[in-house]
Structure formats: structure tokens, C-alpha cells
């Protein structure tokens, strides 16, 4: 009862600074981005910007390079999320039992998770190098031909996705493992008595119970891969050609490297809307999977 009697000022004062800050750094910039996207501002060109209506949006949606980057982002995200999710789930199921050294394994798995992404990018660029890279040394030691992981336009995006899977899997693993360890025991005991074992036990009991958490992990990974930038920048800078230009990287290049701010802003708004729609659908699905409970 005490809590209801808290004066309004004391209740809202602690939240106010956060809201003001977010207003200044998210809402205002976003509104400004919309304004920019309706103008024809080029940062290095002198003169006043004028309003051009939806021209930049039409331009974005008809420009092949932007559409390619959009499609590539979906593809990269799909590869990376599927790979890290399936690997993480399989390993989590394997590790969910009494094994010696489990706590040490868990600590070791933290390491790839928290390594600076730029370090990861350059490390793999070094390791995947055709002539001095250790991965190619091992490949050629086995008598196989060296692979141009980052120099081949078709291969490059897959190589980067592989690196993202490397860095993303431990988080999936640790989240799902924590989820598995906190599942109720009763359904399993009942199923064991009914004779369910191994894969069938997982398919019938474990996975349905874990579904909301699995959806949540996928949501996190999709958000993460959709804004891919660090690995692209450090490993290939969008190359060879434009074969690894994903959305975040291309918009950055358009806006802050070519300084075509207005066109880039229109593209950024499109990307923002895609992510918002996607996350909304996902959050609703998670809520439904939890039987209407708050996410």
C-alpha cells in the first residue's frame, strides 16, 4: 500500500532523464532522418537543400545496388542465424547432462562471445588469407588446393557468415543451455515412464517447452545479423566488387563515404521499417507461444 502513496514527482522523476536522453538521441534523429530523406542534401555540395518529396524512396527502391544489398542482407542473416542456431541448439542438448568440467566449458565459451568484433574480423582475415593464412596452411597440408575465402565474390559472403556463426554460437548455446537447465522436471519424468528416449523425448517434450526461448534467441540473432557492419568493414570492406555489401554497410557508404545523405536517409528509413515490422511480428509470436504471458 505504501507504494501507491508515492508522490507522482518521485515516481516519474527517476525515469525522466532516460526519456529525455532517448528523445534527444533516438526520436529527434529519427524525425530528422525522415526530413533528410525528403530533401536533396549532399554534404559536400554547397547550397540549400530543397524538398523533393518521395523521390529518394523511389530512387532507393529502383536502384539495383540497394535492392541487391537488401536481398544479400536477408541471405546473410538467414545463413548466419540458421547456422548458429542449429549448432548452438545441438551443443546445448549435448551439454545438458551431468558432465565433468561443464562449468569450465561454460567459462571458455564466454571468450569468443566478448571479443571485440573488429579483432574477430581482422583475425579471420589473417587466418583466411590465401598465402599466409593458417586455415589455408592446414588445407594445403592435407593436400587440398588453397581456397580464396575472401577474394572470391561468391565465397566471400559465406566466409563472413561463417565467422559470424563462430562468434554467435556461444551466446545461443549458453542461453538455450540456461533454458534447458531451468525447465520443469515433471514432463520429462512422465515421458520417461512412458518409454520416450533420446530424439523422441527431445522432439515431444524438450523442444516444445523451449519454444518461446528459441524464438527469442532467433530474434536476437536476426537483429544482430541484420545490422552487420563490423565484420564486413574489417574483412572485405564490401568487396570483392560489391559482393559483400550488406544493407548497413551500403547505407553507411552512401551517406558518409559518398556523402549522399538524403538518398542514404531514405534507405535507412526503409531498413528501419523492415526491422520494426519484423520485430513486432516476432514479439507477438513469442507472446503467443508463451500463452499470452508478457514477453
Amino acid at each position: 500500500m505504501k507504494f501507491k502513496s508515492t508522490p507522482i514527482s518521485l515516481k516519474y522523476a527517476p525515469i525522466l532523464p532516460v526519456l529525455v536522453f532517448i528523445l534527444a538521441f533516438a526520436i529527434f534523429p529519427l524525425a530528422y532522418a525522415i526530413v533528410l530523406s525528403l530533401q536533396n542534401l549532399v554534404l559536400i555540395r554547397p547550397g540549400e537543400a530543397t524538398f523533393v518529396g518521395l523521390r529518394n524512396y523511389v530512387y532507393a527502391l529502383t536502384e539495383p545496388r540497394f535492392l541487391m544489398a537488401l536481398a544479400r542482407t536477408f541471405y546473410y542473416s538467414f545463413l548466419s542465424v540458421t547456422g548458429s542456431f542449429l549448432l548452438g541448439l545441438a551443443l546445448a542438448l549435448l551439454m545438458h547432462r551431468e558432465i565433468k568440467g561443464k562449468s569450465i566449458f561454460k567459462i571458455l565459451l564466454i571468450i569468443p562471445m566478448v571479443i571485440t568484433p573488429a579483432v574477430v574480423g581482422y583475425t579471420f582475415k589473417f587466418m583466411m588469407d590465401t598465402s599466409i593464412g593458417v586455415i589455408n596452411h592446414i588445407i594445403s597440408y592435407c593436400g587440398l588446393p588453397r581456397i580464396s575465402f575472401l577474394g572470391d565474390p561468391v565465397l566471400a559472403i559465406h566466409s563472413i557468415a561463417l565467422v559470424d556463426i563462430w562468434q554467435g554460437t556461444p551466446l545461443v548455446l549458453l542461453i538455450l543451455l540456461a533454458g534447458l537447465e531451468s525447465l520443469p522436471k515433471e514432463p520429462f519424468e512422465a515421458a520417461l515412464i512412458d518409454g520416450a528416449r533420446g530424439l523422441r523425448l527431445h522432439l515431444n517434450i524438450t523442444l516444445p517447452l523451449l519454444k518461446p526461448l528459441m524464438l527469442f534467441v532467433i530474434l536476437i540473432r536476426v537483429m544482430d545479423t541484420f545490422r552487420a557492419f563490423d565484420l564486413i568493414y574489417t574483412m572485405t570492406a564490401g568487396g570483392p566488387g560489391t559482393s559483400t555489401e550488406v544493407l548497413g554497410f551500403y547505407i553507411w557508404r552512401m551517406g558518409l563515404s559518398y556523402f549522399r545523405i538524403s538518398e542514404a536517409a531514405a534507405m535507412a528509413i526503409i531498413m528501419f521499417l523492415i526491422i520494426q515490422v519484423f520485430s513486432l511480428i516476432f514479439i507477438k509470436t513469442i507472446q503467443r507461444a508463451r500463452g499470452g504471458a508478457a514477453a
Binding site: I15, F21, P29, P117, A118, V119, A178, G255, S279
Partner: protein
């Protein structure tokens, strides 16, 4: 017979898990290993594990290359990450407490609104913020970086600290307030100390995330306020290929996040999921 199959199964599980961990750790070990090797060994064109231990790469990257610019960048990273963490916590602690304890109108909506700012693609904010920073003279300044990282971390810090305050039993606070403690007193004397472990973990995670951040640092810094991850682009970005310097610099740069992460390992999963999932 059954026992043999069972032993084999356990063995197979160990082989898979340990195999995976080797793959997960190899790149880290490879970087550290190479940072102590000579130029010729690093640039070897065939499989070669020779090492003539040397500190030359470290000395060059810290004191010689571009007049010790890397050391300055590391200091920048440290200063910017510490300060922004401080600002983040000063704002997130009261807000997290309020969200945990008070009946606030549209609480759920407000919390989700805060979270969406973190889930949105940063490039959407980057273009207007770049223009704003340019006009305000904040490009490549420490103040500008502290501000952007405060924004970068505030959402998860509010969510996470709320989840830690949620775990402090309300009854303890009620008892104190019956004894005449004011709300502000209860916050400082009871809620903060009881939730302190989790709150410290929140601060450490905010530090790690800032330390590792690349996108904003690339866009908003040039040299003066440049942070450690951007520093690396100077070694391996075209036209240079100084893997000798890159490995030494990377080894120095990843010590802090790895150490902090191991300290806060119990809270790490929860941190990375904004505290939505307990782990």
C-alpha cells in the same frame, strides 16, 4: 555390452564438446601466439608453428608506430568507456528502480519503447546524428563519444537493473519504510546494497560493450577521440598489412573484455538478453 555402448556414447559427447571448444578458442590462441612471433614467422607461407618469442611487436605497437598512437587510443577507450558507464548507471539505476517498484502509467509500453531504440538499426540514427554532431562540433570529441555510448547502453542498463531490483524482496523495503525510512533512503540503504552484485555486473557489461563498439567509433572519430577497435583499421586497412602490429594490439585490447566477462560470467547471459531471460 550395454556398458560399453554407454561409455562410447559419453566419450563421443566429450569429443564433440571439446572439439567445438578447440574451434571456438583457436582464433584467440592464434592471435596471442602470433603476437609473440617474429615477422618472418607470422608471414610464413606454409604450416609452421615455430616461435622465437619476442616482445618486438608489442614495443613497436605501443611506443613506436605513429608515435604511440595506439597507446593513446587505448587510453581513449578506457576513459570513454568508464565515463559513459558512469553516466549510464547514474540514469539507469533510478529508472530501473522506478520501473521495478512504482505503478507507472503505460509501464510496459514505455519499457518496450526504450528497448526498441536499442533494437533499431544504428545506421538509421547515424546519418542524422552525424549531421548534428558536425554542426555542434562534437565530431571526434570525448564528450561526443561519451554521449553516444550513453545512448547505446541506456536501454539494456535500464532493463537489466530493473530485473535485478525485481529480485529484492519488497517486504524488506516495506519494513524499513514502516520504521520511518524515506523512499530515497530505502533506495540507497536497502535496494542498492541488496541488488549490488547484479548492478555491478550491469556496469561491467556496459563497459565491455562500449570497449568493443566499432560502428559509432568509425563514424564519429578521426584521431583525437579514436578508440581501440578503430585503431586496428590503421594496421590492416589498405594499403598496410601489418599483421605483426595487429596481433599485438588485439591481444592487448581483448584482455579487458575477457577478464571482465569471466568475472561477471554468472550474469552474462542475462546481460546479453537485456535481463528478459534469467540465466
Amino acid at each position: 555390452m550395454n556398458k560399453i555402448i554407454k561409455t562410447l556414447k559419453v566419450l563421443a559427447i566429450y569429443v564433440i564438446i571439446i572439439g567445438y571448444i578447440v574451434v571456438a578458442l583457436f582464433p584467440v590462441l592464434w592471435i596471442v601466439f602470433n603476437s609473440f612471433r617474429t615477422l618472418a614467422e607470422i608471414f610464413s607461407t606454409k604450416l609452421n608453428l615455430e616461435i622465437t618469442p619476442t616482445l618486438k611487436n608489442y614495443i613497436e605497437v605501443l611506443f613506436i608506430f605513429q608515435g604511440g598512437a595506439f597507446l593513446k587510443d587505448i587510453f581513449n577507450s578506457f576513459a570513454i568507456a568508464s565515463l559513459s558507464t558512469l553516466v549510464v548507471m547514474l540514469m539507469a539505476l533510478p529508472a530501473g528502480y522506478a520501473f521495478s517498484r512504482f505503478e507507472i502509467k503505460y509501464k510496459e509500453n514505455l519499457m518496450f519503447f526504450i528497448l526498441t531504440t536499442r533494437m533499431a538499426p544504428p545506421v538509421a540514427f547515424a546519418l542524422p546524428l552525424y549531421v548534428m554532431y558536425t554542426r555542434l562540433g562534437l565530431i571526434d570529441t570525448h564528450v561526443g563519444m561519451v554521449l553516444i555510448y550513453t545512448f547505446f547502453n541506456i536501454a539494456f542498463a535500464v532493463w537489466l537493473s530493473k530485473s535485478f531490483f525485481d529480485e529484492v524482496p519488497v517486504e524488506v523495503e516495506e519494513a524499513a519504510m514502516v520504521d520511518g525510512c524515506t523512499r530515497v533512503h530505502t533506495f540507497f540503504k536497502i535496494a542498492l546494497p541488496l541488488a549490488s552484485r547484479g548492478l555491478i555486473a550491469t556496469a561491467l557489461l556496459s563497459f565491455i560493450l562500449t570497449w568493443n563498439e566499432f560502428f559509432w567509433a568509425v563514424i564519429l572519430t578521426r584521431g583525437n577521440a579514436r578508440t581501440f577497435p578503430v585503431s586496428l583499421t590503421g594496421f590492416v586497412g589498405a594499403p598496410r598489412l601489418r599483421y605483426d602490429l595487429m596481433t599485438a594490439a588485439s591481444t592487448i585490447g581483448i584482455i579487458i573484455p575477457i577478464t571482465l566477462a569471466i568475472i561477471l560470467r554468472k550474469y552474462l547471459v542475462r546481460g546479453f538478453t537485456f535481463g528478459i531471460i534469467k540465466g
